[in-house]
Structure formats: structure tokens, C-alpha cells
């Protein structure tokens, strides 16, 4: 297992949750249109069945399952756009971070929760699952993922969570769904430790004033608590790139100094004998590549590429500097002008089947109990304890539909694990 880069590429964060900007945009597009399609179907079905109940619109009853979308009897609501969803995701990420830190959860837990939350809404629509519900699930599950297994009842009594007036079932009903949504990848790589390393490295250089380093660390940390978490930085950049971008926003010179120190042994043309080694007794000397490999790994070209990447990450995060948390995202005007109109739309286009997670969960269980096992193939399990094999959610019945739906789906994440 060679370099740290190679190792990072095996992490779930890279394998499952890193995308190009185009990939990310298309996934969000897909989730949005899928939600529109299924909500349209459900709403029109609901509407035609209520018409049937009214008993005075016999003409439309024959169309109960395939309502005419152009029909005057039923009009689809206006759906959220991808941009609306993005805005809502960001808004609720800021709410999540606010609630988490007000409650005294650690930086890691808050950051993990934010990353989970944003991951969840890549393949799920705001119209399908309420961000208010999922936000608290994200915080609860992030505690577990970070190794803090608190009881859900205790969790709900903590700090600002009390005011949410949630019941344990509200969280537990959404947890499994949430885990599925984050593809059972519970490890999030954060830039906090890299920042500690950067501080040590800067101090090792010996010619930078302590106050300056401390101020930069402080500022960078506050950026890492917000800017990288409410933007798409985690989807596009590695923890160390994010750290360097934050450091650059805090003190550009220091960040560039670090990068130049890393690449300081760049030698002119590689074939002129052995490249000069760092020779300063840096602890990582033994890991430094030799010969022409070295040029490929720490040469000029790569340095420029690294600088370019960090610049791009910096630019992304610069849109959401920590001050925006209060000045923008908590401002009443912003809420009135941007969030409220979307919420109004959302009221009408919310998925009628998924608005109540507790009820949804119960329905799935009941459906499962009725239908029994299907294609799961646990022959010996059948008739086993209920609590062992609680349920399937009606898979056989959905089989045909699933095939139809799944056809258009070319594994959006690439291969399996």
C-alpha cells in the first residue's frame, strides 16, 4: 500500500462520494426528475380517487390509474427546480450546523452530519424527504458514526434539540432510510487533522511568528467549520486540498509557503544527475520518490496543478465565508425572499407518500408482513421469529415496476463497493 493518494482512492469518500462537477449536476438533475415523476403519479392518483369518492365525475373514473395530465380536472403543482433544491439543501445544512454547535456536539460530529446530509440529498429530493426531518437524523447518526452511541431519548434532550419537539420514533423511522441514502458509508474524511499538521509544519519552518500562525489556524478552522461544509467542496476535493484552501483564505502567503516548501526541491531538467534532495532532515525524506518518478510526483507540473486545484477549491469556499452564516443564512429578509417562496411551493409538491416517516415505516412493515418473503431466498428463515426477519417491503409486487424503472438507470455511482 503505497502512497497516501493511493490509500485515499480506496476510501468510501473517494470511491462513492467524489464526483466531477458535471457528474454531480447530472445526479441532482436525475433525482429531481425522478421525484417529479413519482410525485406526479401519486398526486394524480390521489386526485382521481378523491374524485371517484365525490361520485359525480364518472367520466374520469375510467382513467383512475392513468389520468390525463392535460386534463382540466387535475393540474400538477409547480415542482421545485434543481436550483431550489440546492438552495434548500444549503439552507438546512446551515441550520444543521447551527443546531449541532449550539448543542455542543464536536466539530467532527457536526461536520460528519453536514457531509452525510448533503450526500443524502444527492440521490434524494427535498420534495420526497423533508430536510427538517432528515437534518436531525443526520445529526443523530453522525454521533454514532463518530463512535458516540448515545440513546435517542438522551439525544433529544440535548441543548437546542429539545426545542425541535421530536419523538424518538421520528429519528428512528428515518435512520435506516438515511443510511441507505448515504450508501452505508459511515466514514467521512475531514480536513481538521490536516490543519493541525499544517500548523506543526509552519512552526517547524522557524521563521514565522507564532501569533500569525495561530491567527491563521483560528481563521482556517472557522472556515472549515462552515465554508467547506455548506458548499460542494467535499465532493470535489480531498481533505488536504480543502485544508490548504481554507488556510489560503485565512492567510494566502502561509498556504503558498507550505506548498512551495513541499515542492522546494524541484530541480531543473531531470536528466542532470541525481535530483537534489531536501536534505533538511525532514521526517518524510525516506518516502520521497527517486529519479524520474520524482519529477512526475513532485515536479513543477504537479506543483502548478496542485496550486490550481487549491485555487479552485478556495474560490468555491469563498462564496460561503463563515460570516455568511449569520449575515445571510440567518437573516429574516433572506428567509422571506428566498426560502419562504420555496417552502410554499414545497407544500403543494411534497411527496404525499413520504411526508410522514413514521407512518411510512409502519406501512412498509405491514405490507411486508402481509406479503411475506419473496425473492430474498431465506427458505429456512420462514416462520422464524418476527423480530429476526421483520419484513420485506412488498418486493414481489413491485418487481415488474422495478424492472421498468431500473431500466433507465445506469448505475449512477459506477460499480459496486
Amino acid at each position: 500500500m503505497a502512497t497516501e493518494d493511493a490509500r485515499y482512492r480506496l476510501s468510501s469518500q473517494y470511491r462513492l462520494w467524489s464526483f466531477s462537477r458535471a457528474e454531480l449536476a447530472s445526479l441532482r438533475e436525475k433525482s429531481n426528475s425522478l421525484a417529479r415523476a413519482s410525485i406526479s403519479e401519486r398526486l394524480s392518483r390521489a386526485s382521481s380517487s378523491s374524485e371517484k369518492n365525490n361520485n359525480d365525475r364518472s367520466a374520469s373514473t375510467s382513467n383512475a390509474n392513468t389520468p390525463d395530465p392535460d386534463g382540466a380536472s387535475f393540474r400538477l403543482p409547480e415542482f421545485l427546480t434543481v436550483a431550489d433544491e440546492s438552495l434548500m439543501t444549503t439552507f438546512y445544512t446551515t441550520q444543521l450546523l447551527g443546531a449541532g454547535s449550539a448543542t455542543g456536539l464536536s466539530d467532527e460530529i457536526c461536520a460528519t452530519a453536514a457531509a452525510f446530509f448533503r450526500r443524502f440529498y444527492i440521490t434524494n429530493s427535498i420534495m420526497t424527504y423533508s430536510p427538517q426531518d432528515m437534518m436531525i437524523v443526520a445529526l443523530f447518526f453522525a454521533c454514532k458514526a463518530e463512535g458516540w452511541f448515545t440513546r435517542v431519548t438522551d439525544f433529544l434532550k440535548m441543548g437546542s434539540f429539545r426545542s425541535l419537539k421530536k419523538q424518538p420514533e421520528d429519528i428512528l423511522a428515518g435512520e435506516f432510510l438515511f443510511c441507505q441514502g448515504i450508501r452505508f458509508a459511515f466514514d467521512v474524511r475531514h480536513p481538521f487533522r490536516p490543519l493541525i499538521g499544517a500548523g506543526m509544519e509552519l512552526r517547524r519552518l522557524g521563521d514565522i511568528k507564532e501569533e500569525r500562525i495561530r491567527a491563521a489556524e483560528e481563521r482556517a478552522k472557522s472556515i472549515l467549520r462552515f465554508s467547506s461544509l455548506v458548499t460542494d467542496a467535499y465532493f470535489h476535493y480531498t481533505p488536504s486540498q480543502i485544508m490548504l484552501a481554507a488556510l489560503s483564505l485565512a492567510d494566502r502567503e502561509l498556504a503558498e509557503r507550505l506548498i512551495h516548501e513541499t515542492f522546494h526541491h524541484i530541480t531543473p531538467p531531470a536528466n542532470k544527475g541525481t535530483p537534489t534532495n531536501g536534505g533538511d532532515g525532514a521526517p518524510n525524506d525516506s518516502h520521497q520518490p527517486k529519479g524520474q518518478n520524482k519529477e512526475a510526483i513532485i515536479g513543477q507540473q504537479i506543483r502548478d496543478k496542485v496550486l490550481g486545484t487549491i485555487e479552485a477549491c478556495r474560490e468555491m469556499m469563498a462564496h460561503e465565508m463563515p460570516e455568511r452564516s449569520k449575515e445571510h443564512w440567518q437573516s429574516k429578509d433572506m428567509y422571506q425572499d428566498l426560502i419562504l417562496p420555496i417552502k410554499k411551493k414545497l407544500k403543494k409538491c411534497r411527496d404525499p407518500d413520504r411526508s410522514n416517516l413514521v407512518a411510512l415505516q409502519r406501512a412498509r412493515r405491514e405490507e411486508a408482513l402481509k406479503k411475506g418473503d419473496s425473492d430474498d431466498g431465506d427458505p429456512e428463515d420462514r416462520g422464524g421469529t418476527v423480530d429476526d426477519d421483520a419484513a420485506v417491503f412488498g418486493e414481489a409486487a413491485r418487481d415488474a415496476k422495478r424492472r421498468k424503472v431500473a431500466k433507465g438507470l445506469d448505475d449512477p455511482f459506477g460499480g459496486p463497493l
Partner: protein, 360 residues
């Protein structure tokens, strides 16, 4: 109900495998034989995690830890591979793992009559175990439950470290961790004394005890209780004191028998563990250093001269193996609740209960 994108993706994962007969059933999970839908020759073990009665707070800690770490520790030949995850039923998690049909190291150690092995074989097994532990530590993961029945054996003889249900990431300095991890017989003195800050050295102690057990063909320190475990350590290895372990008396639960036994030197081990050879015994003694700061690290273990002196480690395909019962044994291992001393015929039947609330 139509399916969301995630549900569709789950279905796709699920449909890649066909679930077959049940191989084992445990408190924590059931294990099934399975194969790839596209190729019945590709065998897998499907571990279906049960909804746990005593844990009312959603997905149980074992499952969270195991999934979290197996997702990240891919690509090492000596760590069990997680091939896929899906939910088969409402709230039932399925882990698709590589199929390991030849049982575990415990089976080989115990079957004194039919399984013969020598230094070269032990060296091969220990080498694989040490590389697995090194990989965990190099990825900042503590396993916290290393023992012979968590070391499964693949069809090609390779040893695979399994069961990450007690694993956790290295803590930031200052973070408190639970001392209530690692099956008692393999638990190091710092945990028995209640240390809340510890390192990869806890796993190394367990590795040392697996090594000792390989040589003895019986557990080296089979304590019946935690107090008994400490007594055994004091008697067989030496009494931890301020002299050999500065600071040890400050640990919250530090208590040792009044009669202080000096730490045994290598010579004392030679009589019992000579089967590993002189260099092997040297390595063993270093893994069993009382003070975790003096204990050898996984990386240092790999650099030890034992691996390079004769006899060379046996090649995987030539390692002794058991022909019967392996599949079932591995299934039992995979379905067992983590961190519990084997409930079989070996010694104690006291299963340590995990404190879910406090365990971190």
C-alpha cells in the same frame, strides 16, 4: 410504492447476488452461502445482521462500526473483503463478504490430534496476522477484538482478519475511549486497569497472545474473571509496577496481587515457547511488554528478524488445513456477537455484556 433512486440502487446491488443455504446462526447475525447472479462459481458469504432486541436506538453499534471500517479497509489480502451492502428487508442489513470456507485459526490450534503444524507454518500465519494489524493501524483503525476465532481462513490458505464490530478510529489526543473491549483472554493490562486513552498497542498484546496460543495449542492466559486475568498476567509475565511501567499505578482500576513477580526474561519463555525458535521468542516477548509504550508496534514487528531467519514461512497452499467443518465454523464466527468469549467448550461461559451506552 415506486422506488427512489437509492432504493433502485439497493435493488441493483441486491440482485447481483443469490442467497443460498444458511451456514450459521448467531445472536448478532445469520450467515448464508451465496453466489454472484452472473456466475454461480463466485461464492460469497452473506451476513444478515439482525435487529437487536436489547438495542432500542436504531442501527446497533456493532453494525455501525463493522460497516464503517470494512468500507475503508479494502484491498488488503489479510482483511476480510466487504463486497457489497444492501438491505433485503425493512431494516435488515446484509453484508456481502468474501467466502472463507476453511474455518478459523482456533480450529487448527485446537485439533491437536489431526492438525500438525510447525514453526514455518506459525510464521506464515503470524506474518499474515501482523500485516493485517499493520494495515489497520496504518489506516488509523484499532481492531479491539483480535483472537483466533476472528482469524478466518480462505480457500487458498490465506488468513483473514474479520469481525470489526468493536473497531474504532484512532482517537484525537485527549478523547476518552471505553476500556471494555477485547475478549478477556486477549485483553492487555492497560485495559484491565481501566485505561481510557490507549493505542494500537492494545491490538499488539492480542497478537502476542495469539502467537503464544499457536505455540502452546491452548490459550496462554485463560482468565475466568478480570481479576483472574490480571493475576495470570502478573504470574506469567510479571507484575506491572512503577519500575517497569511508569504511571501504571495511576490507572483507575490498578490492583495487583501483593506478591510482586519480576518480569520474566526471554530465557523463561524459551522453555515453554521454544517451538517458535529463539528469534520467535524474542518477538513474542516484545509483543507482551507490560508498558504499552515499550510494546513493539506492528510495523516494528514486520521488521523483526524472525521472518527472515530459517525456516522460511510456509507458502499458503502448503499450510495445514482442516477439510471438514470449516464452512460452518467460519459462519459461526461471523454471526457471533462481538467481544464475547467463545461460548463453546472452552472454559468460561461468562459472556461479557457490552455496555452500548458508554462504549465508544
Amino acid at each position: 410504492m415506486t422506488m427512489d433512486l437509492v432504493e433502485q440502487m439497493n435493488e441493483q446491488e441486491k440482485r447481483k447476488y443469490v442467497k443460498g443455504k444458511k451456514l450459521g446462526e448467531g445472536t448478532y447475525a445469520n450467515v448464508y452461502l451465496g453466489h454472484a447472479r452472473h456466475d454461480a462459481g463466485v461464492l460469497v458469504a452473506i451476513k444478515k445482521i439482525k435487529v437487536q432486541k436489547e438495542y432500542k436506538d436504531g442501527l446497533a453499534p456493532d453494525a455501525v462500526r463493522e460497516l464503517k471500517h470494512l468500507q475503508e479497509l479494502l484491498g488488503h489480502p489479510n482483511i476480510i473483503s466487504l463486497l457489497s451492502v444492501f438491505s433485503s428487508k425493512d431494516q435488515n442489513l446484509n453484508l456481502v463478504l468474501e467466502y472463507l470456507p476453511l474455518g478459523d485459526l482456533e480450529m487448527l490450534i485446537r485439533d491437536v490430534d489431526r492438525v500438525r503444524y510447525g514453526t514455518a507454518d506459525m510464521k506464515a500465519w503470524m506474518g499474515m496476522l501482523t500485516r493485517a494489524v499493520w494495515f489497520c493501524h496504518d489506516n488509523f483503525v484499532l481492531h479491539r477484538d483480535i483472537k483466533p476465532n476472528n482469524l478466518l481462513i480462505a480457500a487458498n490458505g490465506e488468513v483473514k482478519l474479520a469481525d470489526f464490530g468493536l473497531a474504532r478510529s484512532f482517537a484525537d489526543p485527549g478523547t476518552r475511549m471505553t476500556a471494555n473491549v477485547i475478549t478477556r483472554w486477549y485483553r492487555p493490562p492497560e485495559l484491565l486497569f481501566g485505561a481510557r486513552h490507549y493505542s494500537g498497542a492494545v491490538d499488539i498484546w492480542s497478537v502476542g497472545l495469539v502467537f503464544a496460543e499457536l505455540v502452546l495449542r491452548a490459550p496462554f492466559l485463560p482468565g475466568n474473571t478480570e481479576v483472574d486475568q490480571i493475576n495470570l498476567i502478573c504470574r506469567q509475565i510479571g507484575t506491572p509496577t512503577e519500575d517497569n511501567w511508569p504511571g501504571v499505578t495511576q490507572l483507575k482500576e490498578y490492583t495487583v496481587p501483593s506478591e510482586v513477580v519480576p518480569v520474566w526474561g526471554k530465557d523463561a519463555y524459551m522453555s515453554r515457547f521454544g517451538g517458535a525458535g529463539s528469534d520467535g521468542v524474542d518477538l513474542l516477548v516484545r509483543t507482551l511488554a507490560l508498558d504499552p509504550k515499550n510494546r513493539i508496534t506492528a510495523r516494528e514487528m514486520l521488521e523483526h528478524r524472525w521472518w527472515r531467519t530459517d525456516p522460511r514461512p510456509t507458502r499458503n497452499e502448503d499450510l495445514p488445513r482442516k477439510s471438514a467443518g470449516g464452512e460452518e465454523k467460519a459462519a459461526v464466527d461471523l454471526s457471533r456477537r462481538n467481544g464475547v468469549v467463545d461460548d463453546g467448550a472452552r472454559g468460561t461461559k461468562v459472556a461479557r455484556k457490552l455496555d452500548f451506552g458508554a462504549a465508544r
